[in-house]
Amino acid sequence: MKEKIEALARQFQHELSGAGTSEAVEKLRVAYLGKKGSVTALLKGLKEVSAEQKKEAGQHINQLKKQVEEKLSQQVDAIRAAEEQRQVEAAEQYDVSLPMDAPEGSYHPITVVQRQLEEIFASMGFTIEDYKEIVTDYECFEAVNIPKDHPARDMQDTYYLENGQLLKTHTSAAQNAIMRKYGAPLRAVFPGRCFRNEALDASHENTFFQMEGMMIDKDISISNLIYFMKTMLSEVFERDINVRLRPGFFPFVEPGFELDISCTICGGEGCSTCKGSGWIELCPCGMIHPNVLRAGGIDPEEYTGFAFGLGLTRLVMMKYGVKDIRDLNSGNLKALSQFTHE
């Protein structure tokens, strides 16, 4: 019996080495392990073996069976691997460096900067408000303490409509409605498109964006205003910004300030951008005028607040070095399609 088993093992080894395809291996499997296979036949033949030899012979046959199974499976794997290797070698190697089309849309740069600002303000607890562009005289002027005969209301600055309404000249036109909507305490920013009736050139547009903000609560002070502006602008410019306040006159604030920031180009040393002064005039701000609070339904004896106006269009021009303001409303995709992400 032992000889028989060994002979069969040798024969299998021989035949296996000749089985180069998965079909040949399968044939071999049937020939040895199938119902009528040689190994199966050996097992069947155990019946005739004597009882004392049976155990040992059985072990040998099972060993052989296991060996055959393993080798067959190894052979299958080897054949598959060789096939895959052939496929790999036959495969085309792609030229990833080819200039492929990768379509990209673009945001208007105003959107990009507006979102950055909105994110900063949202993180500081400000609500973000949207407002109309066509407003009443009351909203744009009266409610923000600009009296009837103020030069800002003259025809040369403001676009008037034939129904008596006007195109808002500043985002402050939204102050009253927002105060009335929320009351105090209040933290709000309101970006918006503003209009001034003037001739266009590289630095003047009749249609531009501002972003205005207000913070109103009990005991809001000038000290808080300076602190807030410094913190906020440092976020906006992503560096530590020094601010300086000068008196500035705007009817809706008292006191009103012109806020200068340390020059972002030279850091305050003095350069051509800041005309050697080390400071750049950035935005008007101030303590909200008591008349404005009152018009908004907020008691100025109980609450104080500050407001500031950022020139969104100007920030875009500063950030990206846009030299001609007219590019922004031109619809020229050669200019605008560059702003592909936030």
Partner: protein, 788 residues
């Protein structure tokens, strides 16, 4: 406005202080200084020199050879000035000296050596006069340095006029000096004036203020026997440094007074103007102002008249006829106060903004008119002691401003500033600025001075500004607010806009643009888009821009046209505002709209149209979980395609439209290209409530798909077929999708897949058949047949 520190020095002693640093403080506490000029810095060794002899130049007709006594020695000088002559004393730059920043070296001019240079006023930098050498008085000490003889050295700075708009008191040197006094903690000297009560015995001037609405005060004085014609050099230098121009003594004095006190004055020739009426005329008329221009003056303009004849535009400019001339020896001096708004509007109408009108429009202090006359007389009599006053001070004071007293307590200041400023400092600051300030316990009582009380300081918060600006904002301790933080949600509008932009840019690769709120008629015309009527601007820069846009289409289409070279296939969008006419309240119906326009030379119009519909559908699903409806509709604009314009709605509420273009308009953009355009009302869209996702357990049982091939009658749409399966339980019919669509012999066919599934069991074909039969039956009623 230009400010001379020498002039400031007349009123406040700033010796020993760093003036440049003080001017910086001025910027931070009062008004923005734009530029500082160091006058007379570029002069060296310029002395009074006497021309002791003059000979003709051997080689030149024009030039002369001079011998000039420079005090230390006699210099040989070549000079070409027309007024050079023996015996006169002139400014003389010695060899090695400097004038106008240029060093004067020994030079050979036309063959003769010159060891210095005689100067004109312009070369000295003290006037624009370059007609000849400046001639100095006979008694001028020879050899004396010019900068010692005259106040040529000065620190002059320019203040941004815009930063002075609310400060009428700062439009003259005296007001600026008051600021410096407060900033430096030094005393402000009173103005030296002539006591006018001395003339009370004289006859008054006939001054009749007819228009008591626009003329607040009119003060006048007559003077005669003025013999001096030329202003002193130092006065002329100040005028020049401050941007004015010396003319003659009387004109110079009125200008000087204006620059000093901020009070515009006018000097009429007494021979021509003897009495004064202040009034408006009933009808427009022609009037020649002293700049020689004939102007049309309308009935809203306040005029100064004499004997019914107009002689000056009040507060703006005098008339040519009554102008002071060089031989004028008597004058009627006007020192008046007019309504600021009226002066500004008149100046705008006349296109004539003068130094006087600029000041009046700031609302000047009417208390100033009389002291200004007193000051004028002081200056005049100092220069020309023979001048004789021939009228009493005549003063018609029509409108007084009320006195303003403000009370506030210390806690108010603390709360507003957020820092601690001590009581003494508050009082000191306010008093230095001319306020009457008293304290009683914790209460401050403040009297606003007349020069701040015309509009500038009216409420407590204005006082805070006075205290804090002098304290200095850069001296503030800054601190964060202690007010609590309240969480804030984004408004639905803001959220929808941003979400839409992200989808359009990131998923559909569109480009965001910005345009204008009006139709550009010129561009519309290029596109063959007929003008639409809507509310108009009454003062547009051009009539092409006066109609407010009713929709986003035309602006976007013109951008497509202008961007054809950008690419063969691109799309743009804008979220902007339009006006859909006027509401019943007469106000504009302003709406926020999303406009989209697609352009392609590589894809068909149909593809673009369906892509655009897909974009809108995706927006509805992703932003609002809402299924938008689309249906063919009549175009609302002539440029839209009559057949392919669709209404977009949600739950029966109109949201917008999408369309292809009328061939006439498409042809103007690009005959060979495809264009599709859409508009969505973002106000309505944002207001759609966003339903929460309702979670459904995934069914454990396989569903069953039934495909129906349908033959559609003419004009039938998918949307019109939808009611056929609306009755089927939505929890069982989980979807209807388009598998195929084709056209054969002019008839449209669709293959639709109806997906059925149940949460409870595996559905068999037999179970769904009755539903399918129902659908087929309902479709048959609409004329839709099953294909074989």
């Amino acid at each position: 406005m230009l400010i001379s520190m020498n002039w400031i020095g007349d009123f406040v002693d700033l010796t020993g202080l760093d003036l440049d640093a003080l001017i910086k403080r001025f910027t931070l506490s009062t008004a923005e200084v734009e530029e500082v000029f160091h006058m007379g810095e570029n002069l060296r060794d310029v002395v009074a020199g006497k021309i002791v002899s003059m000979e003709a130049h051997p080689n030149s007709q024009k030039l002369h050879l001079l011998k000039v006594d420079g005090g230390d020695k006699i210099y040989d000088v070549v000079c070409g000035a027309p007024n050079a002559r023996e015996g006169i004393i002139v400014p003389f730059v010695k060899e090695g000296g400097m004038v106008d920043g240029q060093e004067i070296a020994c030079a050979t001019i036309a063959g003769c050596e010159s060891h210095g240079m005689c100067c004109s006023e312009r070369e000295l930098g003290i006037s624009a006069d370059h007609s000849g050498l400046m001639e100095l008085p006979e008694d001028t000490p020879i050899g004396k340095d010019m900068t010692e003889l005259f106040a040529i050295k000065d620190l002059v700075f320019e203040v941004d006029n815009k930063s002075l708009t609310n400060r009428p008191d700062l439009w003259g040197h005296y007001g600026i000096a008051r600021e410096f006094a407060a900033l430096a903690g030094r005393e402000l000297k009173p103005l030296e004036t002539v006591e006018l009560s001395a003339y009370e015995g004289l006859a008054p001037i006939e001054i009749h203020v007819e228009d008591t609405e626009l003329c607040y005060r009119y003060s006048g004085l007559k003077v005669r026997n003025i013999t001096k014609k030329v202003s002193p050099v130092d006065m002329r230098i100040r005028l020049f440094y401050c941007g004015s121009r010396a003319i003659n003594l009387l004109a110079d004095l009125t200008n000087y007074l204006m620059l000093e006190m901020g009070q515009p004055m006018h000097a009429f020739d007494c021979a021509k103007v003897d009495k004064v009426e202040v009034k408006r005329f009933d009808a427009p008329f022609q009037f020649t102002t002293l700049d020689g221009t004939e102007r049309k003056v309308d009935e809203n303009t306040l005029m100064i008249c004499s004997d019914g004849k107009p002689v000056a535009v009040a507060g703006i400019m005098g008339g040519l006829e009554s102008e002071i001339e060089d031989d004028t020896d008597s004058l009627l001096l006007e020192s008046a106060n007019f309504d600021g708004v009226s002066v500004r509007r008149s100046a705008t109408r006349l296109g004539l903004r003068t130094d006087a009108s600029m000041r009046y429009e700031k609302t000047l202090d009417p208390e100033m008119t009389v002291p200004a006359i007193g000051r004028f007389m002081k200056l005049l009599l100092d220069i020309d002691p023979d001048a004789q006053v021939i009228s009493r001070l005549t003063d018609v004071y029509v409108k007084h401003y009320p006195q303003i007293t403000l009370d506030f307590d210390k806690a108010y200041v603390d709360r507003y500033t957020g820092i601690e400023i001590d009581d003494a400092r508050i009082l000191e600051t306010l008093r230095a600025l001319g306020f009457g300030a008293e304290q009683s316990g914790s209460t401050f009582m403040v009297q606003v001075p007349s020069w701040r009380a015309t509009k500038d300081v009216t409420i407590k918060a204005d006082i805070i500004e006075e205290i804090t600006r002098i304290y200095g904002y850069d001296n503030f301790n800054i601190s964060t607010t202690l007010s609590p933080l309240y969480p804030k949600k984004k408004s639905p509008g803001n959220k929808a806009d941003n979400f839409a932009k992200d989808l359009l840019v990131q998923r559909w690769h569109l480009h965001e643009v910005h345009s204008y709120i009006w139709f550009d008629q010129k561009k519309c015309k290029e596109l063959g888009i007929a003008p639409e009527t809507n509310v108009r601007l009454i003062n547009a820069q051009t009539p092409d821009h006066e109609v407010i846009r009713t929709n986003m289409g035309p602006t976007l289409l013109s951008f497509l046209l202008e961007n054809k070279s950008f690419g063969a296939d691109f799309g743009i969008f804008e979220i902007g505002r339009v006006c859909e006419g006027l509401g019943e309240d007469g106000l504009c119906k302003e709406r926020k709209k999303l406009g989209i326009a697609l352009y392609s030379r590589t894809r068909s119009e149909k593809e673009l149209y369906f892509e655009l519909a897909g974009i809108l559908r995706t927006m509805g699903r992703e932003i609002k979980r809402a299924e938008l409806s689309f249906s063919n509709t009549e175009p609302s604009h002539a440029w839209q395609h009559p057949r392919n314009t669709a209404a977009v709605s949600y739950n029966g509420e109109a949201l917008g439209w999408l369309c292809t273009l009328h061939p006439a308009v498409l042809g103007k953009i690009d005959k060979k290209a495809a264009v599709a355009c859409a508009q969505l009302d973002m106000d309505t869209f944002a207001a759609i409530p966003t339903a929460d996702t309702v979670y459904r357990e995934p069914s454990k049982f396989p569903g069953i798909d039934i495909d129906l091939s349908l033959q559609m009658p003419e004009g039938m749409t998918f949307g019109a077929m939808q009611p056929a399966w609306e009755d089927v339980d939505a929890s069982l019919l989980t979807g209807v999708t388009l598998i195929d669509s084709f056209e054969q012999q002019g008839l449209k066919s669709l293959t639709l897949r109806f997906a059925f599934s149940s949460q409870e069991k595996t559905l068999s074909k037999e179970e769904v058949q009755p539903w399918v039969d129902g659908i087929v039956e309902k479709l048959a009623q609409k004329g839709v047949a099953l294909r074989g």
